[in-house]
């Protein structure tokens, strides 16, 4: 058990104490205690930075279920470590922020922080796990904690809806991922990621390669809200804003990105991977940015923006995978720029988006609304928030002097490089990539400006606000401030980041090129096409913003029916109604139907197998003879049976059954079973008597039934059953393989002192059967007695107890 194992579980363990602290020390906001946890993890993780920056990795393993090759193994490399730092660092900032955001009087803080800590452990587990099953475990744990956090205010219906939606979609992805993991383990005979990666060359040809790839991508896309699985993110905004800032922009939604990055060494280089990842990423990028523009709720705008930005990063990972096709050399390095852009933007996005969410939370907290139509003119009232928001938005739009500008430029570089590819059939479609990238960037610019301008510029409308607006308390401003500072600092010293953070990450994603990276990020590198693209974005974006009111009505023409979230909703409803129909169709409550289904299926399966498997046979060799008396008996039997079936009078039916019983007794006599005959006579008499007693007490029962004649369907089924019974009987008879064991019982006198073998069996050899049959009678008696005596009235209060 290494320190890393402990630190990852630390939040979960702390979660146990949190409710106690909440109850016992209510005067201090629980968040202060909780703050220690992510901070401690962050500091611990920093200690790994020098090692990783130097190009080394570490593996810590703790056996758990060796039988299945499931171990609690942790792997520390650039990719995992940077994610870990983001998770714990932003986690600390979010906890700090939440101390001011959530009132300690009104909120159930113990729940909140417990869920949050659960999430922290889970997320750390995802990015550090080397064992795929354990990764899956932590992955699902993030889904669960996200579920609990989204519906933190569970009395609201919207919150519950959002939580359910997120859970269903991400768990669906999780199951797909599990299937993929199992497939991969079958292929590579291991659950260890590193061990799997080592075999990637041999496994490319395996028949499960493509299915596993697709399933892993489904898992990644559902978690990272790629099209068409993005629909859960806007509804997840029901969560308290600290959560939206943390889970749903900086960490959990990046888990899918992590997964794609982590698996790039394995799947990258394949054409399908390139196309799916890039394609879906670009589509998401464009779709998100288009939809963000029309949002009126600040958080919804940010949600769609996040969707778009995640598509941005995803598409870059796709484009960069081309580097693995080349394996090494200049071509590879060219395309590795896309990977650089991806990881760089990963970090940048965390900074500016986190800050923006927090500022939006501040606005919401201080004015009581997030509706853009009601906000405006807050610049003078909340100057600091305004500054933070401005910086964040401009970075998001991709303008200097902010980090977003640098990664946007690299994005364009990557897109242009990708367009130059002549593999993967890019010659035909390659040009699309930069075009889509550029178009989406324009819209990104537009919505970024919308965010800032509509909130802070314009007219202040106090009458439409719920509270009197004022600047946020200092405590709430610290966290976004720190992030914003990073936004600026990174612009000026990107290469420090590059050396310590970005290069190790790239080494994990493109192992063949590790150690050869020589990254220099510069703000200005001449009048390259990228610069012109950026200028174009600004110009066109500004124009579009100015004319916003004119063309925004185009959105109304988008048919509602095509909306994916509507598809989801109707899908759910449809499933419920199909289930209901199917269930109602066969669960009719009518026992006859049940029996019919059962019998039909029984007849079909058994009959089919009788003939398909050649089981049928008739053997008349050893058949006993038949004499006249027996034939008469048979005829009487059949006759009385028919009478029982046909008669309308219940009384006659009962008498008929009695007669039947007596005939059977006679058969027993003929077939050399005197004991049986005696018993049968006795029992049959009692049975008939019982029936008659029944009729005596319930005279109406004795009446003739309203007949509905012979039910043909029932007759057919009954006939089939009878036929089947006979056929199997004949076959079994014809297939006697072994002599019976009964010779043993002929020594009954010596063994048991009895002259009657049957009695000996009953009383001695198989006495336990007899004992039990007595108990059966006893139980029947008890049950009958209880049934007659105990009648709980319907209206009694605990009748169901």
């Amino acid at each position: 058990m290494s320190w890393l194992h402990i630190f990852i579980l630390f939040p979960l363990l702390a979660a146990v104490i949190i409710p106690i602290l909440f109850k016992k020390i209510p005067r201090v906001h629980t968040g202060w205690f909780v703050l220690v946890v992510p901070l401690a993890v962050f500091i611990y993780l920093l200690t790994f930075l020098p090692m990783v920056a130097g190009g080394e990795t570490a593996m810590y393993s703790l056996p758990w279920i060796p039988r299945f090759d499931i171990h609690y193994s942790l792997y520390v490399d650039g990719l995992g470590l940077v994610f870990g730092l983001i998770i714990s660092g932003i986690g600390a900032l979010v906890v700090l922020y939440s101390i001011y955001y959530l009132s300690k009087h009104r909120e159930a803080l113990h729940n909140f922080y417990v869920y949050l800590m659960m999430f922290l452990t889970a997320m750390l587990g995802v990015v550090f796990s080397d064992n795929m099953i354990v990764l899956y475990l932590f992955w699902e744990l993030t889904s669960i904690s996200s579920f609990l956090l989204i519906a933190y205010w569970y009395a609201r219906r919207q919150s519950r809806y959002g939580a359910q939606k997120a859970m269903l979609i991400t768990i669906f992805g999780g199951f797909a991922m599990l299937a993929a993991i199992i497939m991969l383990s079958i292929m590579g005979e291991t659950f260890s990621l590193q061990a799997l990666m080592a075999q990637s060359d041999q496994l490319v040809q395996h028949e499960l390669f493509l299915p596993a790839m697709i399933l892993i991508l489904i898992g990644a896309f559902t978690k990272s809200v790629q099209f068409p699985f993005h629909i859960w993110l806007p509804d997840a905004m029901e969560a308290p804003t600290p959560i939206s800032a943390y889970l749903h922009s900086a960490t959990m939604v990046k888990a899918g990105i992590y997964l794609v990055a982590r698996f790039t060494p394995f799947f990258g280089g394949a054409m399908e991977w390139f196309w799916i990842v890039t394609g879906v990423g670009l589509l998401t990028l464009l779709w998100g940015s288009l939809l963000a523009v029309k949002q009126r709720d600040l958080k919804a705008l940010l949600a769609f923006s996040t969707i778009s930005q995640l598509g941005f990063i995803m598409s870059l990972l796709g484009m960069g995978s081309a580097a693995l096709y080349y394996g090494g050399g200049d071509e590879a390095h060219l395309h590795s720029m896309a990977i650089l852009a991806a990881v760089f933007h990963l970090v940048n996005h965390a900074t500016f988006k986190g800050s923006l969410f927090m500022v939006v939370g501040i606005v919401d907290h201080e004015t009581g609304t997030r509706d853009l139509r009601k906000l405006g003119g807050l610049m003078s009232i909340m100057p600091i928030s305004f500054t933070l928001a401005l910086i964040g938005s401009l970075s998001m739009a991709g303008l200097p002097p902010f980090n977003g500008f640098l990664s946007k430029e690299l994005f364009f570089t990557g897109a242009l490089n990708a367009a130059e590819l002549d593999i993967f059939r890019m010659e035909t479609y390659g040009a699309l990539i930069p075009i889509v990238a550029w178009t989406a960037s324009i819209f990104t610019f537009v919505y970024s400006i919308v965010l800032v301008f509509k909130t802070f510029f314009g007219k202040y409308q106090p009458e439409r606000l719920e509270k009197e607006a004022h600047e946020a308390p200092w405590g709430m401003l610290i966290s976004p401030l720190i992030l914003t500072v990073l936004v600026v600092v990174i612009f000026f010293v990107p290469n420090v980041l590059a050396h310590y953070v970005l290069e190790p990450m790239m080494a994990s994603i493109l192992p063949p090129l590790a150690g050869e990276f020589d990254i220099h990020i510069e703000a200005w590198h001449g009048f390259e096409p990228e610069l012109f693209m950026t200028i174009g974005v600004v110009v066109l974006g500004a124009i579009l913003y100015a004319t916003l009111r004119k063309w925004i009505v185009l959105y109304n023409n988008m048919p509602r029916a095509l909306s994916i979230t509507n598809a989801y909703n109707s899908g759910l409803k449809g499933m419920e109604s199909i289930s209901r129909k199917v269930t109602d169709w066969h669960m009719t409550g009518f026992s006859r139907d049940y029996l019919r289904y059962i019998l039909v299926i029984f007849v079909v399966i058994t009959g089919a197998s009788l003939f398909l498997l050649d089981g049928f046979s008739i053997d008349t060799a050893n058949a006993a003879n038949i004499n006249g008396f027996e034939i008469i008996l048979s005829l009487v039997l059949v006759g009385s049976t028919a009478m029982v079936v046909i008669t309308r009078s219940r009384l006659t039916a009962v008498i008929g059954v009695g007669v039947l019983g007596y005939i059977v007794a006679l058969f027993f006599v003929v077939l050399r079973a005197p004991d049986l005959a005696l018993t049968q006579l006795a029992i049959e008499t009692v049975t008939v008597a019982l029936f008659l007693v029944c009729f005596y007490h319930l005279p109406r029962l004795r009446e003739k039934e309203e007949g509905d004649g012979i039910n043909v369907f029932n007759l057919i089924i009954a006939g089939a059953v009878g036929l089947l019974v006979t056929l199997i009987s004949l076959s079994a008879n014809g297939h006697r393989l072994f002599p019976a064991i009964s010779d043993f019982y002929e020594d009954a006198y010596e063994l048991a002192g009895a002259g009657n073998m049957v009695n000996a069996i009953l009383a001695d050899f198989r006495a336990i059967d007899t004992l039990l049959e007595i108990f059966v009678l006893c139980i029947a008696g008890l049950a009958a007695y209880a049934l007659i005596k105990l009648r709980l009235a319907r209206r009694e209060q605990d009748e169901n107890q």
Partner: protein, 112 residues
């Protein structure tokens, strides 16, 4: 003889099944009785018919009929009787409480 008995057992099963598929409670109960008889005949048949004298040692003989199925049948008769008795009481009480003998009317609604 075996063929005849197999056929008879089949007939009984057919009749029993037909009764059990009926709408009236009493008929269903009767059906189980008939089914029971059919099962007993099957047990006897499978033991081999008329292969010897009745299995009592007092009767001198070279071969005896198989006593084992006979013992099984005795046990089965008793058990079936117990079950039938209970079943009849159940039907009786159901009729008393629910007022009808017709299974179709006893489907019950979803919400109860």
């Amino acid at each position: 003889m075996e063929i005849l008995m197999s056929v008879l057992a089949g007939v009984l099963f057919m009749a029993g099944t037909y009764l059990v598929l009926a709408k009236s409670l009493i008929r269903i109960v009767l059906g189980t009785a008939v089914l029971g008889h059919g099962a007993l005949l099957l047990l006897l048949t499978m033991g081999g018919l008329k292969t010897g004298a009745p299995p009592i040692l007092g009767i001198e003989s070279t071969a005896y009929t198989d006593p084992l199925p006979q013992a099984l049948i005795l046990t089965a008769i008793v058990i079936n009787f117990g079950v039938l008795g209970f079943f009849l009481v159940l039907a009786y009480r159901s009729y008393q409480e629910l007022g009808t003998d017709d299974m179709e009317q006893l489907r019950g609604t979803e919400d109860e």
